[in-house]
Symmetry: C2
Subunit: 101 residues, 2 copies
């Protein structure tokens, strides 16, 4: 990760039953929709496997700078995903943003 | 991150005053000591910058597989760092372990 880059992560649990097709759909759609936003770099879909953390999944992505992050937050496809999918299918989440010191 | 790799992260706050030399020492020593353990790959020292997350710093590292992760946990330098520094200087933390789906 280069200096100035922001690594944005959301760790989350879904309302769907473990192993269900709905989970696969959510993760696949999230990757497809969010990674297609041009400012989004290095998008990753992750499983959270520590027993000491209460969340099951993670999305991780990088923005070149704060302007790119702002463009992502304002992007219609991101806002639509949040409204139509995140707010209806996510049971709980934590956001984390990292920069190199 | 390759399939099978585990990305281990700890996000944390320190007991020291923001901007103090003690914080710099903790982060520098953590990087030096932990990244020198042979199974630790891609060690990163990070600042957590989201206002929606209560932790200030992060260590991130990758292990090739569970055996490497177990070797890290059992390594004397890791255990010494936890005992002498982590348990005395860290005010709160959250562990997160990611694998690719």
């Amino acid at each position: 990760m280069q200096m100035g880059t922001i690594r944005h992560m959301a760790i989350f649990t879904l309302k769907h039953t473990e192993g269900s097709a709905e989970i696969e759909h959510f993760l696949n759609d999230g990757e497809k929709i969010l990674s297609s936003i041009p400012v989004v770099k290095n998008f990753e879909v992750l499983r959270q496997v520590s027993a000491k953390c209460n969340f099951d999944y993670g999305f991780s992505m990088e923005f070149q700078n704060q302007e790119a992050y702002d463009a992502y937050n304002a992007h219609p496809e991101h806002q639509r995903f949040v409204r139509e999918r995140w707010e209806t299918e996510v049971a709980g989440f934590q956001e984390i943003d990292f920069m190199h010191l």
